[in-house]
């Protein structure tokens, strides 16, 4: 075996999430209401542009979620693997992240390898051409896919402007990736931090942390919110009272305090059971996972309340009444007739929560109850760099890198969320008045 796979909980859940997304996309094609809502989104160029960027971040996060120990050498008594966990992303972007220096260095100040200006220019042009080639390949593949797999049906959902936005985004990403990968052979693009680590590499590795927190939190809380919300709304009576009591109690606690309290307790738990984790990666992963659980614990109450209210409304609808008369069992009614009609609320919650959670991670890491200090995240980058602006000369690049990466992700998510909300919930729309 050229590698040894490392099992991490958040990785598993991330795979589950991606499988669910694929299943949801293919399964949702038949639902007319969903299709018309998505059609509204697909015809917005700005939304499609941000969707492509979000998907790109998602791909990076996915590549960064496949962890393994690379094989060092084969010995007589067996194979010897490296002690540091690596991800597929590390492998693909190598040598990015392999180089370190002693201490701070400004962006583009230090040469990793010496190179003449002439060679550098040639290299940049070549890398741009490579990016262009990559774009053409993607373009060709997409065209091929549309041609064979019911292209008319799919392409009818989009319009010219949104196609242009999509391809522009892909074009931009291809060139940018190719250029950055080339330049990172010779320079530290975002400089280096206090111990000489590559800031650009840290910012890229932080994408996974941000995406995991933004998506897994909602994924983890969804089953509970849907289950309790629907049974409270549909059964009423004492079930309703108990569910309402539970979510009122939890939502009465100020969110950040509940998170802090829970993380503090878990920190001690992890400390007391340190021997149940095989390595550092698993321990910091456990903390990331717990952070998602705790964030989900505070976030599910709002969704549960919305779902309960919607279920109360749906319960009186004719099609539900018809199902009751025909003797369909209550749980079947909830699963078959009520849950599919809640999808718009769920979609809106997923996307709106996402940017909120990505931003929350930085604040929590600052407070000291965020992700493990050994996990690379934007919050940790900002936290460790917050006194650097007071230095002379000013060290601004770690902050710039963390804030700009975070801004791009959150801005795209917000743009997309706005369009999504307009599409699924015309009443609360902000731009379609």
């Amino acid at each position: 075996m050229p590698f040894q796979y490392v099992f991490l909980w958040t990785d598993m859940l991330f795979y589950v999430l991606i499988i669910l997304m694929v299943v949801g996309c293919t399964g949702g094609r038949k639902n007319m209401m969903l299709v018309s809502a998505w059609q509204y989104i697909f015809r917005r160029p700005l939304a499609m542009f941000s969707l492509v960027i979000l998907l790109f971040f998602m791909v990076i996060a996915f590549l960064d979620s496949i962890h393994f120990y690379p094989l060092l050498y084969v010995h007589d008594s067996g194979s010897v693997y490296a002690t540091r966990v690596q991800s597929l992303l590390d492998f693909l972007v190598a040598p990015l992240g392999r180089y370190t220096t002693e201490t701070y260095s400004a962006p583009f100040k230090l040469f990793i390898q010496p190179i003449t200006n002439y060679d550098l220019c040639i290299g940049i042009v070549l890398s741009l051409l490579k990016g262009l080639l990559g774009f053409l390949v993607v373009f060709f593949l997409m065209a091929l896919m549309l041609f064979f797999k019911g292209g008319r049906h799919v392409s009818g959902l989009f319009n010219d402007a949104s196609w242009r936005a999509i391809f522009f985004a892909i074009f931009y990403i291809c060139l940018r990736v190719s250029l950055s990968l080339y330049v990172s052979h010779y320079f530290y693009i975002f400089g280096t931090d206090k111990v000489g680590g590559d800031v650009f590499y840290q910012a890229i590795k932080s994408i996974r942390t941000g995406m995991v927190i933004g998506t897994l939190t909602t994924l983890l809380m969804l089953p509970f919110a849907i289950f309790f919300g629907t049974i409270a709304g549909y059964f009423g009576g004492w079930t309703d009272d108990i569910v309402q009591y539970i979510y009122t109690t939890i939502s009465s606690i100020p969110g950040i305090l509940l998170i802090a309290a829970a993380i503090l307790s878990l920190q001690i738990f992890i400390k007391n059971h340190a021997d149940s984790f095989e390595n550092l990666a698993q321990r910091s992963d456990a903390r990331l996972f717990m952070l998602c659980v705790v964030l989900g614990l505070t976030a599910w109450t709002d969704l549960c309340r919305l779902i309960r209210a919607e279920t109360l409304k749906l319960r009186e609808m004719d099609f539900v009444q018809a199902a009751v008369v025909m003797g369909v069992s209550r749980y079947k009614i909830i699963i078959r007739h009520i849950v599919p009609n809640l999808m718009h609320i769920i979609w809106i919650t997923i996307v709106l929560n996402f940017s909120m959670l990505v931003l929350a991670e930085t604040v929590l890491s600052y407070v000291g109850v965020g992700v493990d200090p050994s996990t690379m995240s934007w919050g940790n980058m900002i936290n460790s760099a917050r006194f650097e602006l007071a230095r002379e000369p000013v060290v601004w690049w770690p902050l710039l890198a963390a804030f700009s990466f975070m801004f791009v992700l959150v801005f795209c998510a917000n743009l997309f969320a706005d369009t999504l909300r307009d599409a699924f919930d015309p009443r609360g729309s902000s731009s379609r008045t």
Binding site: Y245, A260, A261, L264, S265, Y366, V369, L389, L399
Partner: protein
Amino acid sequence: MLIVLKTCVVILIANLTWKESFLVSYIIRRIFYAIPILIGVNILTFLLFFTVNTPDDMARLQLGNKYVTTEAILHWKQANGYDRPAFYDSEAQGLKKITHTLFFQKTFDLFTFNFGSSQQGRNIGYDVMHRMWPSLALAVPTFMIGLAINISLALLIVFFRRTYLDLWGLGLCMILISISTLFYVIGGQYLFAKVLRLVPISGYEPGLMAIKFLILPVVIGVVSGVGAGVRWYRTIFLEEVEKEYVLSARAQGLSEGVILFKYILKNGMIPVLTSVVVVIPTLFLGSLIMESFFGIPGLGSYTIDAINQQDFEIVRVMVFLGTLFYIVGLILTDISYTLVDPRVRLVRSSP
């Protein structure tokens, strides 16, 4: 004693007009509803702190070294009142089975505002009373100025609706929302305190001199909230614009400015109220980030310090107070609702 209380309430209600009496009985009912919620919150925090972090662990943490004898732990537990069973004492008699427990004692102390002492031996109640004022001095101006600016900007955008100003304003709001609060804090501190040297970087002084320390955090607090605030109030006011009374006011030939400030602002304040009143009591707790970044000795930085030092007693008290203030906020929201909107009744109309 309960009977005395009850007669007092009855006498109180009898002397009020019918609307006021509804209000009073409603408030009393809501206060009684709040008790199970507060108990629930206590159970939750108790479970979080005492099952994961047992008194034995706490004793070990306090006594400091790894080689602590069991006697020392027992002694510490006895000295600090942690030697009782958690929820149910099977050895005690009668009602004491429940009252002679750690949970009951801790909860009872909280409900009587007897907060005990922190791990460093300071009285938490005393600290809370003293740290409340700097928190308020920061939170109240941030809240008031923020509210005023958000509402006026939202009205301005509504006034110029469906123009480029609307579009660009919304775009700017979107950008402001997407930037982390930490960026405003770090950037603001760098620009105004370090480069321009207009204000001190951090610190606090009681009295009027506090202004020079508070002005930057207030401005940053307002700026970081402006994006979300303007968008939120804009949707509220736009919903009002569509209504028929606005159409009739316009038909009467009133100018757009009069309609905006006299009609839409007044009616739009009702939904604004619900989102605003609930926040007011929680202003006491202060802002975690602002206070710790600017070195203001309020309750927010108190909480952060407690979290960093893993001082569970303080965190428990703050969770309790936070919940209490939130519930008070909810009750105040309902009351203010009836005061501004005569259509809203507190009693459920019988079917």
